[in-house]
């Protein structure tokens, strides 16, 4: 359940200070989570209205993972490889709202000028690709570079429980461990892959998979963003200092369809899951503490988003000729 240090430990005044400090830390994390949620809900609406072309995989319900992990990273030197469900990773790590919105709307102001779209993003130290598993090997390669360059950078790579079916992940785990590379493997275990429950995807216990490669494992529920953030901070620190990989299993819940409207789970089950939506639970904590600050935060986010969408809608796309020209050089 949510932030026990916020809810339960209110006895002593020292505790009260801790709580206040913790709460203060929660605000920016909640802000990111809330932004991700709003952005993705808009994407689904834009799609329904025929304004967004292509595909989207939202991380609605899983925002804690993106926010808690990336907030433990140093965006100047650390590297992120996101999954196919990567809008949250992107926003949390790069903060680039406009670039993402314009990208999904296919505009030249998009972070990849509309070429990449939802699953194929790159900016600064952030990368994603639409092929499950393959990104993990790329991430290990990045970690090799960072180590060799002596940058002290850590590479975090996100993937799902379903992706753990891909053999290249095991090859990558082996090499990362053998060569002692600073990789944080982040398994977002939402118990489902597209439409397939985990029990049809995997034998044995996913969590032990990395241990056989002599990689340390941390497993936790990704409900409490502060708690996960704190664990991530120590884990990232450990990875950085030891230059050894770590395997973090975040148990989480996908509240929305895999992509758009393709959820075959029982609506009652989904409703029940939504009742435990971490975003809502964090919101309640903040609301109880400072409702007007919360309102201001949320208004700011939604307005920012509206502006961003409006700007992207008005923007032009990359000229087809400009793109086609690039073929000549091939």
């Amino acid at each position: 359940m949510i932030a026990p240090h916020l809810a339960d430990k209110v006895e002593s005044s020292a505790d009260r200070c801790l709580v206040a400090a913790a709460e203060e830390e929660l605000w920016p994390l909640y802000r990111q989570m809330y932004q991700i949620r709003c952005v993705e809900e808009s994407f689904l609406k834009l799609y329904d209205r025929g304004l967004l072309f292509g595909t989207v995989h939202t991380c609605i319900g899983q925002e804690v993972c993106a926010v808690a992990v990336t907030s433990a990273l140093d965006s100047q030197r650390d590297v992120v490889w996101a999954s196919h469900r990567g809008h949250g990773h992107y926003l949390a790590f790069t903060g680039d709202l406009n670039g993402l919105v314009a990208e999904l709307l296919g505009k030249s102001s998009g972070v990849c000028a509309g070429i990449g779209g939802s699953q194929h993003l790159h900016r600064g130290n952030f990368y994603s690709n639409g092929i499950l598993g393959g990104t993990v090997a790329c991430a290990v390669g990045c970690a090799f570079s960072e180590k060799m360059k002596g940058s002290n950078g850590v590479v975090a790579v996100f993937f799902g429980d379903g992706a753990m079916g891909e053999g290249i992940i095991y090859e990558s785990l082996n090499i990362a461990s053998l060569w002692q590379l600073p990789v944080l493997f982040v398994l977002e275990d939402n118990g489902i892959a597209q439409s397939t429950p985990k029990q049809f995807e995997h034998s044995g216990d996913l969590v032990t998979r990395a241990r056989t490669f002599d990689i340390e494992i941390t497993r936790m529920r990704a409900d409490d963003v502060l708690a996960v953030h704190e664990s991530c901070s120590s884990i990232v620190d450990l990875v950085r200092r030891s230059s050894r990989p770590h395997f973090l299993v975040l148990e989480t819940t996908r509240l929305a369809p895999h992509s758009k409207g393709d959820d075959t789970r029982d609506p009652l089950e989904i409703a029940e899951l939504k009742r435990r939506d971490p975003l809502r639970q964090h919101r309640e904590v903040l609301h109880a503490s400072n409702p007007s600050r919360l309102e201001a935060l949320e208004t700011e986010i939604t307005q920012q988003l509206e502006t961003s969408i409006a700007a992207a809608m008005d923007a032009g796309g990359l000229a087809p000729e400009d793109y086609l020209e690039r073929a000549d050089a091939r």
């Binding site: 296919g106 998009g110 000028a113 639409g130 499950l132 053999g167 075959t264 073929a327």
Partner: protein
């Protein structure tokens, strides 16, 4: 009947008639029924012979190879054609090799079905016509239904084929009707040497065509309107749309090419080393004197397929590209 319904019905009848048929692939559990719904309803009916799988494309292709060696007739669905890259080793170095390297003592009746092609904004890794990378593999067959064939029957034929078959389903065809109404266009079906059907469309009643257009799969959706427009401009076109695209049903293609001596090959995949390259090489060789213009190819730009709609449209071949090519060979 839509192509999707036709394929679904064919799979059902294969399951009913051939106990050795097994379907498997990612997300085949009902009610989901696969990412594109081609197998919907089948897992519920045949829970032991329609299996949802882990996300392990390489091993799935290997499983299919192994099953086929031991008497089954596996039909594997790869969710997007783009992921066939993960099956490359199993196709090139295992499935396609067994028969020949074991001195013809085995057959490998594997069918790998997969949706291919763009037009939906899925971006660089979910929109490719990846088949060109497999065309050069000895022993395998590549089959692609068009709107001008009984798609389901062609699928049955592929499954009954003793070879490893890549069966390409263009995403934009699924919802289309078989044999769309096309006023003024005649459609005739011929069988190639190996028994796969090829459609011959003509937008004229008598005489010889001005141009022969060779195309397959997803490109077929553009042909009826295109031929109608060409008829308006009094350009007589014979379009030949084979379902077996590799090995080339060369006699059929060559005969169609000879009728006009001016050939356009249209494919959705990137131009370089695509389907049309081999066709052009062989037609020029065989019809050196007869060709009145160089074989002219239409295909995607040799670039990643972008997500943005306008960019994707610009990269993929369309009617306008076919028209330019037709005009070109007529000059």
């Amino acid at each position: 009947m839509t192509i999707l319904e036709s394929l679904n019905a064919a799979l059902l009848s294969l399951l009913e008639e051939m106990p050795e048929v097994v379907l498997f692939g990612e997300d085949l559990l009902d009610p989901y029924g696969g990412a594109f719904k081609v197998t919907r309803g089948l897992q519920a009916k045949f829970p032991n012979r329609v299996l949802t799988t882990p996300i392990s494309e390489a091993a799935l292709a290997g499983l299919a190879n192994g099953m086929a060696l031991r008497g089954l007739r596996p039909v594997l669905e790869i969710m997007f054609g783009d992921f066939l890259s993960l099956c490359m080793d199993q196709i090139l170095n295992h499935g396609s090799k067994f028969r020949t390297m074991y001195n013809d003592s085995v057959t490998v009746p594997v069918t790998i079905r997969t949706p291919v092609g763009g037009g939906r904004g899925y971006g660089p890794t979910h929109s490719q016509s990846i088949e060109k990378h497999f065309m050069g593999i000895p022993e395998i067959r590549i089959v692609a239904p068009s709107v001008f064939c009984q798609a389901g029957e062609v699928l049955e034929q592929a499954v009954r084929d003793e070879r490893l078959v890549l069966f390409l389903e263009h995403k934009l065809l699924y919802t289309l009707q078989l044999f769309p109404e096309s006023a003024g266009i005649s459609c005739e079906t011929v069988l190639d040497d190996r028994g796969y059907p090829a459609a011959l469309l003509r937008n004229y009643d008598a005489g010889t065509p001005d141009v022969t257009l060779l195309a397959y799969g997803g490109m077929s959706r553009l042909l009826a309107p295109f031929l109608q427009r060409m008829a308006e401009e009094e350009i007589r076109i014979l379009a030949c749309i084979p379902t077996l695209i590799k090995p080339l049903p060369f006699e059929v293609l060559c005969r169609a090419a000879s009728e006009s001596g001016r050939v356009v090959v249209a494919e959705e995949g990137g131009l370089s080393w695509g389907w049309g390259a081999e066709i052009a090489a062989r037609l020029h060789k065989t019809l050196f004197k007869e060709l009145r213009a160089p074989v002219t190819r239409v295909g995607a730009a040799d670039l990643a397929i972008p997500s943005a709609r306008a960019l994707e449209r610009a990269v993929l071949p369309d009617e306008a590209a076919m028209e330019s090519a037709v005009v070109e060979v007529l000059q």
